[in-house]
Each structure stands twice: as structure tokens, then as C-alpha cells.
């Protein structure tokens, strides 16, 4: 019993560890072969699986959309063009609905966020042992397929969005306007410290909530898949139950992954809209 519990714990831990490349404690460079090693590598390390899958999916997305963009004709759209146009119009109407200023960057940004996050989340629907199994056969110690369960990926995106929010806040309102927005409301100039505290929290909460919401949802979903997968080794009855549960959770997860991509996109649009608007 304790042996089994031990393997279960190892199984879970194994699935939650990224394939990390960095400098070992003894000064050599290489892959981390345990969570302990990965932690010791500190900041100067890179998660090869997160980078690899996210770049692969992003390139896939841009490749297909670019192909359509090149051959985009005004006649009757067919197949892939139809699909791409449907998504583009969906994103475009979302942007037009929430973004009141004029900025040609916001709509492509929203499209990239939506599709990229959706594709990264979609990897969650692959049975969780397939790609890590293949990686194990190739001699890689770890393989985390879903890039959006890595906080590096979600924070990478949300911090980029945050940088854009700050950039456009200053560009639209001026440095003085931006600082004024942080310090002069809601209590007027005599409540400046309180204002700064409130508005600062408000500002910082944007990227943190964006990143953690996506990360938390995907991480929890992945965790449930892992727990269900453990049932497969628990005898016939548990295996069948696990199969049914996995199917049910996957169906429900389709909703979650789309919803999370949509929420990330919509909040980005809203934050950028707020950055473009003058408060008086």
C-alpha cells in the first residue's frame, strides 16, 4: 500500500515537472533529472517543453492563418478560409464591442492570444501519457505537454500585456496623467498614499490575475486528468470508471479551455481599452 502510494506520488510529481535545461550545481550544463535539480538551477534555466510546444503551436497557428491571408479572396470562401474568417470576425466583433479607441494592434493581439492560448490548452485533451511516454522512450526525463500549465508561459503573456497597458497609458495620457491617475483618485490629492496603494494594487492585480487565472484553471484540469489516469492501474473496475471519467472531464474541459482563452483575450482588450481612456 505504501509502495503504491509512493508510486502514485511519483507519478503525479513526474507529470508536474517541466523538462528544464540549465546549469547544474556542479557547474555543468544539462537537463535536470529531478525536481530538486531543476529548482537548484535557479533563474538561468529554460523549460524546453514549454518553449517547444508553445512555439510549435504558435507557428502552426500563424502558418495556417498566413496561408489563408495570402490567398484571401473576396469570392465565396471555402474550407480553411471560411473557418479562419469566422474566427477573425468573432475576434473583430469582440474588439469592436469592448475597445473604443483606435489602435490597429489590439485586434491582432487579441487574435494571437485567443488562438495561441486555445491551442496550448487544447494539448490538455491529449491523453496525458502519450507524449511524455514518447519522450521517455527518447530518453527525456520529463515532458509537460500543456504549456499553459507552466506559470512562465502565462506570466510571460500577461506581463507583455501589462507592459503594453503601461506603454499606452503613458502614451495616451502622458506620464503626468498616468501618475495622476495612480495618485489623485479616488480620494483627491490629500489622500495620495491611500490612492497610490489602492490604484497600485489595482494595477498590479491585472497581470497577476490574468496569468494566475489561466494557470490555475489549466493546472487544476491537468491535475484532475493525472488523478483519473492513476485509476487506470487500479484494476478493471477502476480502469473502466477512469475511462468514463476521463471522457466526461475531457468533454467538460473543451468548454474550459475555450472559455479561458476567451477570458484572457477579453480582459486584455478591456485593460488596453482602460489604458486608452482618460479618467477625469
Amino acid at each position: 500500500m505504501s509502495a503504491e502510494a509512493h508510486t502514485s506520488t511519483e507519478y503525479i510529481k513526474h507529470h508536474l515537472q517541466n523538462l528544464t535545461y540549465g546549469q547544474h550545481a556542479d557547474g555543468t550544463w544539462g537537463l535536470a533529472h529531478s525536481a530538486q535539480e531543476a529548482r537548484e538551477m535557479g533563474f538561468m534555466a529554460i523549460n524546453l517543453d514549454t518553449m517547444g510546444f508553445s512555439i510549435l503551436l504558435g507557428v502552426l497557428f500563424l502558418f495556417f492563418f498566413r496561408k489563408v491571408a495570402q490567398s484571401a479572396a473576396t469570392g465565396v470562401p471555402t474550407g480553411l478560409q471560411n473557418f479562419v474568417e469566422w474566427i477573425v470576425e468573432f475576434v473583430d466583433s469582440s474588439v469592436k464591442g469592448s475597445f473604443t479607441a483606435r489602435n490597429p494592434m489590439v485586434a491582432p493581439l487579441a487574435l494571437t492570444i485567443f488562438i495561441w492560448i486555445f491551442l496550448m490548452n487544447l494539448m490538455d485533451l491529449l491523453p496525458i501519457d502519450w507524449l511524455p511516454g514518447v519522450a521517455g522512450m527518447l530518453g527525456l526525463p520529463y515532458m509537460k505537454v500543456v504549456a499553459s500549465t507552466d506559470p512562465n508561459a502565462t506570466f510571460g503573456m500577461s506581463l507583455t500585456v501589462f507592459a503594453l497597458v503601461i506603454y499606452y497609458s503613458i502614451k495616451m495620457k502622458g506620464l503626468g496623467g498616468f501618475i495622476g491617475e495612480l495618485t489623485l483618485q479616488p480620494f483627491g490629492k490629500w489622500g495620495m498614499p491611500a490612492n497610490l496603494l489602492l490604484e497600485g494594487v489595482n494595477l498590479i492585480a491585472k497581470p497577476v490575475s490574468l496569468a494566475l487565472r489561466l494557470f490555475g484553471n489549466m493546472y487544476a484540469g491537468e491535475m484532475i486528468f493525472i488523478l483519473i489516469a492513476i485509476m487506470f492501474s487500479g484494476g478493471a473496475v477502476l480502469a473502466v470508471t477512469g475511462g468514463v471519467l476521463q471522457w466526461a472531464w475531457a468533454v467538460f474541459h473543451i468548454l474550459i479551455i475555450t472559455l479561458q482563452a476567451f477570458i484572457f483575450m477579453t480582459l486584455t482588450i478591456v485593460y488596453l481599452d482602460m489604458a486608452h481612456q482618460e479618467h477625469h
Partner: protein, 156 residues
């Protein structure tokens, strides 16, 4: 689960993807969509215009047809009138010709009878003279009594 260089790598990757999407993906697709929207609107407008023109044409055609009918019935009426006129004229001409023929026939008859009467008168005078000479048994000098004979002839 460790925050490391991946954070920066992901940010850069994300920025590059957004840039690429903004540069090469979004504008062509959106402009194609706009162009198609415009094309469809134009097509619908053209269809509307065509329908309107069709209505106008139908109206014009029925007007023309109506005019043609009126003209045709006018022409027919005129032709009938003209035919009647021709018949009337022909009748008049025929009647005049007939009258003329009758008149000339009558004149001829008159002339003929006059001539016959003259001839008859001559004959009767000769007969009378012959008779009278026979009666008188005397030679009546025709030249000497020509005046007399002529007077008698005129009396007959």
C-alpha cells in the same frame, strides 16, 4: 513550476507572434472581409436597381402596347371609312356614267327619228308631187313649183 528564463523566452515569443500576426495575418484577412462586404452590398444594390429598371421597362412596354393598339384601331377605322368613301365615289361615278349614256342614247334616238321623219317627209312630198302630177295630168314644173312643194313639205 520554477520561474526561470522561460518567462522571458515566452514574452519574446509572444511579442514576435503578435508582431507577425499584426503585420502579415490580420490586415489581408480583414481587408478581404471588408472587400467582400462591399462587393455583396454593391451586388444587392445592383439587384435592386435591376429590379427597378425591370419594373420601369414593363411599364413602358405596356404603355407602348396600349398606344399601338389605339393606333391600330385608328388605322382600321380610317381604312373602313376610306373604303366606304371609295364605294360611294364609285357609285356616284357609275350613276353619272349611266345618266350620261342615257342622255346620249336619247339624243341619238331623237336624231334618228328626226332623220327618219325628214326622209319620210321628202318621200311624202315626192309622192304628193307625183300624185298631183298624175292628177293634174299636166306636167308640173318641178323647178317652177319648188317653193310650193317646199311649203307643203314643211307643213307635213
Amino acid at each position: 513550476m520554477n520561474i526561470n528564463m522561460t518567462l522571458i523566452g515566452q514574452s519574446i515569443t509572444f511579442a514576435i507572434f503578435v508582431w507577425f500576426c499584426m503585420k502579415f495575418v490580420w490586415p489581408p484577412i480583414v481587408s478581404a472581409l471588408e472587400a467582400r462586404k462591399k462587393q455583396i452590398a454593391d451586388g444587392l444594390a445592383a439587384a435592386d436597381r435591376g429590379k427597378h429598371e425591370l419594373e420601369l421597362a414593363a411599364k413602358r412596354a405596356s404603355e407602348t402596347l396600349h398606344e399601338a393598339k389605339l393606333k391600330a384601331s385608328d388605322i382600321i377605322a380610317q381604312a373602313e371609312k376610306r373604303a366606304m368613301q371609295i364605294v360611294e365615289e364609285a357609285k356616284d361615278v357609275a350613276k353619272a356614267e349611266g345618266d350620261r349614256l342615257i342622255v346620249s342614247a336619247k339624243a341619238e334616238i331623237e336624231q334618228e327619228s328626226h332623220r327618219a321623219r325628214e326622209a319620210l317627209r321628202g318621200d311624202v312630198a315626192a309622192l304628193v308631187v307625183a300624185g298631183a302630177s298624175k292628177v293634174l295630168r299636166r306636167e308640173v314644173n318641178a323647178q317652177a313649183h319648188a317653193d310650193l312643194l317646199e311649203a307643203i313639205k314643211n307643213e307635213l
